[in-house]
């Protein structure tokens, strides 16, 4: 284990987290600390449990009836799986961006305004307008859509849709943003745009990104965790993982021996 993975100021902290789908174990005793100031990347071959683990961080696995989570996941020192945790509030604090852009079939404005509205974050139309503009600006989408906020969000291009989804997540002012392979459905140019955006958002939110692309992990993240067969093999500074991995399996994966 890397030394700074157990620093006391971690935003999220997991201890021996295992996730089961029925009898099948998808994630096996993962302990990791996620910091606000870094982008943390989860890499690993398909089916290694990295997405499942990510979905455990804001309890999206609750929607799968057979899923079961063991171990301890803390957000600011509070166990998110304790019975008194409000899952609605948790998801407002820990936002998520999905693999496939999934804007609501509403207008661009409504897509952004939906979250603040259900949480009562804005008093009146003007404040809501301000939140929408700020979120779209942060997501780097404002200049492209400011003249057509009433157009449907689904009419945008794939890359724009994904930035819309990021803006939508930002609009509820989360503390952590989980991204589940956000660029896997996008072309290289749109991918580059999203990566720039992630870089701009770094420091404001704790960002966790699951990715298939090792180059992407190397480009956007400061911390990288390598998953294999449900276990977290290695976690540390991104530069160390890619240039000087300590585990043989990490080295084999990074050099393209398998995966």
């Amino acid at each position: 284990m890397v030394t700074d993975s157990s620093s006391p100021d971690a935003k999220m902290r997991t201890r021996d987290v295992s996730v089961f789908y029925g009898a099948k174990q998808a994630v096996d005793s993962v302990s990791i600390d996620i910091h606000s100031e870094y982008v943390t990347a989860f890499i690993g071959p398909s089916g290694c449990g990295k997405s499942t683990f990510l979905r455990a961080l804001n309890r999206m696995n609750d929607t799968i009836p057979s899923a079961r989570v063991e171990g301890c996941i803390e957000l600011d020192g509070e166990d998110i799986y304790r019975s008194s945790m409000d899952v609605v509030q948790l998801r407002a604090r820990v936002g998520m961006v999905f693999q496939k852009p999934n804007p609501f079939p509403k207008s661009i404005y409504e897509n952004i305004a939906y979250g603040p509205r259900i949480h009562g974050l804005a008093e009146g139309k003007q404040e809501l307008d301000a939140i929408v503009e700020k979120s779209l600006r942060r997501a780097g989408l404002w200049d492209e859509v400011k003249d057509r906020l009433s157009d449907s969000g689904t009419a945008l291009s794939g890359g724009q849709q994904q930035r819309l989804c990021i803006a939508r997540a930002i609009a509820v002012q989360p503390e952590v943003i989980l991204m589940d392979e956000p660029c896997s459905a996008l072309d290289p140019i749109a991918t580059a745009r999203i990566e720039e955006l992630i870089d701009e958002l770094r420091g404001r939110y704790a960002i966790v990104i699951v990715t298939h692309s090792m180059q992407q992990a190397a480009r956007v993240s400061q911390r990288t965790a390598f998953f294999h067969l449900g276990k977290m093999v290695e976690y540390g500074h991104t530069s160390d993982i890619f240039t000087n991995p300590r585990e043989e399996r990490t080295k084999d994966y990074i050099t393209g021996r398998y995966g």
């Binding site: 998520m96 999934n102 989804c165």
Partner: protein, 415 residues
């Protein structure tokens, strides 16, 4: 490379030809099916319109009535049609009308005047009391036999007179606006469709008000909240079976259940609507569940990840997206309910109801039952009236479908 590629051999090209031929055959078969359906529909609508158009007309005698010779007057403060009719009847209006016909067109024609003809005069007087001064010409209905004679259909002894009066333009068939405002009667010259139409409207309102919310809520619960286990499987199978139960069984259920609880509401639209709601609900549940299933899970995930509560996910995202599909299912169910006769016969909606229902608990009949009753009548005049009633039923159905399509498009555009 002297060998020809496999995709360029004669055998391959022969197979290719066969594939295209199969596609052509399939297209022709599909086109044939469409043409056949269209032809059947055109034939159906054509015969209906051809037969039914006469049902909207009736034979009337053009008769001048001289009110001054008897001096009828309305009691002060009477304006209601029923009261006016009673007052004028007491003062001898029926005799005056009879006499006017006799004087203008002869004794034989007067004998063929519809016995209720004076009521038409009374109705017009009720609308305009000034008519009681001077001489005015009224178009008065004739007897059923005379109307048949005019159509050249039986009653040979009356046909010469009918032809003679028609030649003088004293007897003619004209559009009968009253058909749309009157109710059932024993005389086909006097029947109207309004009572049955209003009964149908009231019944449909009850059906929709019960079946739509219950059906949608059941579909939402089963899809979004219910755990998947043996019990929900059982409920699903039961609902699917319920949709396939013959409608008369629902009538028996309504008879035993609803009329058992409200015995004095026999023939009421409320009971009819409740019975039809039982029948419509499973259709809405099945259509609703399919529509809800078709909402992409990514939308649910997206909303949930923003911190929407389950009920917000359902009402803000799932339901609006599923609504067009639910509406389609609803309109199919409602169209079936509108055309349903058997269950309503069981709960007494086949009674002879000569006045339109005033509310949900008044005795009423509905369009399909009215059609069924008229088709059973012996008088020839009812044949045309039956076709006319069918046209009204089809138009009502068309209107309902039109509203549903409008609503569906509206909801689809909004998203």
């Amino acid at each position: 490379m002297s060998e020809v590629a496999t995709t360029r051999t004669p055998a391959f090209e022969a197979r290719l030809k066969k594939r295209y031929a199969a596609e052509r055959r399939f297209r022709l078969a599909g086109l044939g099916a469409i043409l056949f359906s269209v032809a059947v529909l055109v034939f159906l609508l054509g015969t209906m319109t051809f037969n039914g158009i006469g049902g909207f007309q009736r034979a009337t005698l053009s008769v001048p009535v001289d009110f001054d010779q008897v001096g009828l007057s309305l009691p002060p403060g009477v304006s209601d049609t029923g009261a006016v009719s009673r007052a004028l009847e007491g003062q001898g209006l029926p005799d005056l009308v009879q006499f006017s016909v006799e004087r203008a067109l002869g004794k034989q024609a007067a004998a063929e005047l519809n016995s209720d003809a004076w009521r038409l005069v009374a109705e017009q007087v009720a609308e305009d009391p000034a008519l009681l001064q001077g001489t005015h010409t009224f178009d008065l209905p004739v007897t059923e036999n005379f109307a048949s004679a005019l159509a050249g259909d039986g009653h040979a002894e009356l046909q010469p007179l009918a032809r003679q009066l028609a030649a003088q333009e004293k007897l003619e068939r004209s559009f009968d606006a009253g058909f749309l405002t009157r109710s059932d009667a024993t005389d086909p010259q006097q029947v109207g469709i309004w009572g049955a139409l209003k009964g149908s409207i009231l019944t449909m309102i009850v059906t929709l008000a019960l079946a739509f919310p219950i059906g949608v809520l059941a579909a939402l619960y089963l899809e979004e909240y219910a755990p998947r286990n043996r019990w929900t499987d059982l409920i699903e199978v039961s609902i699917n079976n319920l949709a396939a139960v013959p409608s008369i069984i629902f009538g028996l259920l309504g008879l035993a259940l609803f009329l058992g609880v409200f015995p004095h509401m026999r023939s009421a639209p409320l009971i009819g609507g409740m019975t039809l709601a039982l029948m419509t609900m499973p259709v809405i549940v099945i259509a609703g569940r399919n529509a809800i299933k078709a909402v992409p899970p990514s939308i649910r995930d997206g909303a949930m990840a923003l911190g929407a509560s389950p009920v917000q996910v359902v009402f803000h995202h799932v339901l609006p997206l599923a609504l067009p599909g639910i509406l389609t299912g609803t309109i199919i169910g409602m169209a079936r309910a509108l055309g349903e006769t058997a269950p309503l016969l069981m709960i007494g909606m086949r009674a002879f109801v000569a006045t339109p229902p005033d509310g949900f608990t008044n005795p009423a009949t509905v369009l399909p039952v009215q059609i069924f009753l008229w088709s059973d009548e012996i008088d020839r005049g009812f044949v045309e009236r039956t076709s006319a009633a069918i046209i009204v039923l089809l138009l009502f159905l068309l209107l309902m479908n039109g509203v549903a399509i409008y609503l569906r498009n509206k909801f689809e555009k909004k998203w």
